[in-house]
């Protein structure tokens, strides 16, 4: 557990942007996480007009690693035009990777190590690394040391047919062996989250996102990606279903528990490709450069619970911690951006935040954390509708939160997310008056 008021000198978010988030296997099918991150970073530099030499650190989140670019932040940073002298590293904390990347960068700024930093994340789920079986890998490694072609063939002796089957990675927790969907199903059953509640939540998410897309709110945070090969210029998210109806939602079969389940493809977040980038600076530095600080980081919480029963409950644990550290109540927060892994997970977290029993038993509080007013929550859609490129989502949440705080005139904003391994994160921002 790590939470508290954010220490050191004031850290502000100056701007945040992202590539379009698109369904895997579509517009970005031929791009790598490195390509997407490069686009997001060069887009951020272009739209802020910042001299890249002012950036002292780059931290990106990424979950599914590409062996060619294992420190994808470094490669993408160089390619996007950040100076070679700007260190860059990649963090991986499942779906809160970008949140943690942001915290890392924020600490470096707050402590005075750097004045400006970029944080964000990148992910392609179009090209997950499919591996050969362990048995075959072992023989391939051995064959490299072979003396002569005959010896090389000899090293493969004993290979069985089933060793040749490629291994596709599952989105599962290593410790429990359960996939996220299976665990979401457990959670829904345990807390009695109904199919109807989930479908209604997911439908609303799509409708809110569609409206925000139409009104240009999402467009304002998107930087275009030019795809080599097709040379399409992609400017829009492509997974938002503004035309979805309750009937359509209800028609889907459960995805994870085919007989008794309630989680479907429509009320779960889908595989997505995309990248995000957030520019953060020391407040004094931003002002000195004539850049407009938008929101100050007030407090943060990084929590971890039991991966079996509390896997998706990160917000329920992290939000109260961060609010406490900020010294404010939930009702004071005007803008709430919570990562929507599954509609079931969202409904569950919201229920627990309202629950006095949960507050008493698990948080050691005397009263419930509070009710999140629906109009304050994910007003421009969320991961269910916009999509969820694992490593990049946190950057989208922060960018959206800051953008909404400005438009809605909110004083406080809250970002929260859950991640595999039962990690939770929450960030509290306060708007900086221009």
């Amino acid at each position: 557990m790590a939470s508290g008021r954010f220490p050191g000198r004031p850290v502000v978010v100056v701007d945040g942007c992202r590539t379009p988030f698109v369904r895997s296997g579509t517009d970005f099918a031929d791009l790598s996480a490195y390509d997407l991150a490069r686009s997001a970073l060069s887009g951020l530099l272009h739209r802020t007009g910042l001299d890249p030499r002012e950036i002292g650190l780059l931290v990106l989140g990424c979950v599914i690693q590409d062996a060619d670019t294992s420190n994808v932040a470094r490669e993408a940073g160089l390619a996007a035009g950040l100076p070679p002298a700007c260190p860059a590293f990649t963090v991986t904390v499942a779906c809160v990777s970008a949140n943690v990347a942001f915290l890392n960068a924020a600490h470096a700024v707050a402590s005075g190590q750097v004045d400006g930093a970029i944080a964000g994340g990148t992910e392609t789920l179009s090209d997950a690394p499919i591996r050969l079986s362990r048995a075959l890998r072992k023989r391939l490694m051995a064959a490299q040391k072979a003396r002569g072609p005959l010896d090389r063939i000899r090293r493969f002796a004993g290979t069985r047919l089933r060793d040749l089957r490629p291994q596709i990675p599952a989105i599962a927790d290593f410790s429990t062996g359960l996939t996220m969907g299976q665990n979401g199903e457990r959670l829904a059953k345990r807390l009695g989250v109904t199919r109807e509640e989930q479908d209604a939540y997911a439908l609303a998410s799509h409708h809110k996102a569609a409206r925000a897309q139409r009104d240009g709110k999402l467009g304002a945070q998107i930087v275009p990606v030019t795809v080599p090969g097709s040379f399409r210029i992609v400017r829009e998210d492509n997974g938002i279903r503004g035309d979805s109806t309750p009937e359509k939602m209800a028609s889907l079969k459960p995805a994870f528990d085919k007989t008794f389940g309630t989680l479907t493809a429509a009320n779960s977040s889908y595989l997505t490709d995309g990248a995000s980038a957030v520019l953060l600076m020391a407040e004094e530095k931003a002002r000195a450069l004539g850049m407009r600080p938008r929101a100050r980081l007030v407090s943060s919480a990084l929590t971890a619970m039991d991966p079996l029963d509390e896997l998706l409950l990160g917000p329920a644990f992290a939000v109260p911690k961060a609010l406490e550290a900020a010294g404010i109540g939930l009702e004071e927060v005007g803008v709430v951006e919570i990562h929507e892994a599954f509609a079931a997970q969202m409904v569950a977290n919201l229920k627990l935040l309202e629950s006095e029993a949960f507050a008493r038993e698990r948080l050691g509080r005397t009263s419930a954390v509070g009710k999140v007013a629906p109009e304050r929550l994910n007003a421009w859609g969320g991961s269910l509708s916009i999509g969820h490129p694992f490593g990049a989502t946190g950057g989208r949440l922060i960018a959206t939160c800051v953008q909404r705080m400005e438009e809605e005139g909110a004083r406080y904003g809250l970002v929260a997310a859950c991640a595999a391994g039962a990690i939770g994160n929450a960030l509290v921002f306060e708007r900086v008056e221009p």
């Binding site: 060069s42 490669e75 160089l78 390619a79 035009g81 080599p228 399409r232 210029i233």
Partner: protein, 706 residues
Amino acid sequence: MKAVNLEKRLDGVAVLTLDNPDGPHNILSRDLFAEFRRVLEEVRTDPHVKAAVLISGKRDFLAGADIKSFFAMKEPSEGESLSREGHALLDLIAESPKPFVAAIHGQALGGGVELALACHYRLATDDPATVLALPEVTLGVLPAGGGTQRLPRLVGLAPALPLLLTGQRVRARKALRLGLVDALTSPGGLRETAAQAARRLAEGTLKPRRRRRRLLERLMERPPLRGLVFRQARKGVLAKTRGLYPAPLAILECVREGYEKGPRAGFRREEVLFGELCASEACKGLLGLALAMIELKKPLPGPEGRKVGTLGVLGGGFMGAGIASVSLKLCPVVVKDVSDAVLGKCARTVWEGLSKQVKSGALNRFERDRLFARLHPALDYGDLKRADLVVEAVFEDLELKRRVLEETEAVVSPECVFASNTSALPIASIAERARIPERVLGMHYFSPVPRMPLLEIVVTPRTSPEALATARAFGVAQGKTCIVVKDGPGFYTTRILSPFLNEAMVLLEEGAAVEAVDRALKDFGYPVGPVALIDEVGIDVGAHVAREFGDAYASRGLSSSKALPALFEAGYHGRKNGKGFYRYDRRRRGRKPVNREVYAFFGGPRRKEMPAEEMAERLAFLMVNEAVWCLQEGVISSPRDGDVGAILGLGFPPFRGGPFRFLDTLGAGEAVRRMEGYAERLGPRFRPAPLLLETARKGERFYGGS
């Protein structure tokens, strides 16, 4: 400071560092010869020295010879003796019993390669900066330091010929593949690695690496196959040069002499033919061009331009994409257009251009990604707000250009320079509604932008010196040779091209055949015939230019042919829509048949023979005469700019050195006499410009002297 520094190492290796004290490059000249000879003598006589390394103390290895000195040569004997001295010097190296290693980093051009060839071992850095070439042929001369002898012997006859005959640049990896260098190393530590190689060569523990030649290659170097190789090469050269360029033939002759009678005879041939070439007019024309291009790369006196941190390009068509392509190395580029379809196509053009460079080894893949990431496709003017220079490349329409200028001014800073890429629309008229007309000028690029070396910068009386300096510095950084011209109908290049192309139409009206006109001008030395050129740029563009300013000089008898607008109206747009003076549907072996339908616009299908020389002269004189008018009116500020513009922009025969050098060679008096003859027969458009008459009367030359 000396030009050749000698360091004797304890391990018996002498390191000779070429370090010209008078400039940024090492240049082969007589002064260097003398010093070099002394140092070589010391290497020879010092018993402690077992081997030697030749290395440069500059960024480049050796950039070639002092071409200015070639330019001054009047008699064949001058070049001959220079070559002989060069041979004698390089022989000292080649015949030395102590091994010499050439350590090459950066450019090794002409004499630089020949110096390396004389060494016993060549070590080059595997770096994009390392380039080897024998560009003598492009200057109208030949490699007179043994290049025609040593290169074929080292790499083989077949691979050597293209290098000698085209001046093709070879990068490190390819040089290794060819066997032109023995080994590659990394730039850091080149000196030490070379010293090690030299020591081991002396000890006998390192052998030069020679590429194994295949059987066919070996057969090609012996009779009877060898004769065939030379005949084919000669045929290729003649087809390409139409016999107008003596240098490639001379090179072939030297190579052959060497194969038939041995290297000594080959060296001797180099000396004689080099002397002859140096004194020839063709060489002066090409050298004059090269020297002018070097001068034009230097910064202008006056204020410094604004540093361009972001370039804006309006219009993502082929032109806009080309401008973006040549700018990405300099700064981020925002290309604005109205649709993503156009922007996507623009991105494709840029990407494919970069990919070609990756293939050639000029760029690595990561660098391509980095450059491509600097291309920002925009649908909104707001994206241009941080641009320091905006170049518009929208459709040639005055009202449209005025409007995009206004829209740009609404978002950019007051210091941002605005350039119009137009080939004919007057800049002053585009700038009419500009809020700040001082920042407006013309940047006339030629298509395709990455390949065409000329940039014509057009200034109006109101253009500020800062705006000009910004545009010119940026153009030079893009790798362009920039000429600065005054605003007016057609500026310089389009203006002198216009009567030239128009005369081709007149010839067709008189009954000449399309292919006969084109052949006549190609025989004169133009790379493309005028009629084919109209097809290439588009009959629509030709008609547009004819309409725009066709009658501006009607008083001089230059009225434009009505045929082009009529053809355009009838749906002939040239190559772009496959309907032009030529047919593009059944190309055979690179040759396109004439589209005989067009003769309906020129008085019917019956064509008659017309003397080729006269056809070429009529067109050429009109171009040349218009160039003199431009000089007289101050549109161009010097004959040099006029020559460079005509050669690089319009394909004026390079060996003729441009319109003004052409007149100087022919003699102004002779030119006047011939033109007056045409004027009498064909009309006042051939009347010599007053400045030409005056030059003839005074017996002067445009380039000074008499």
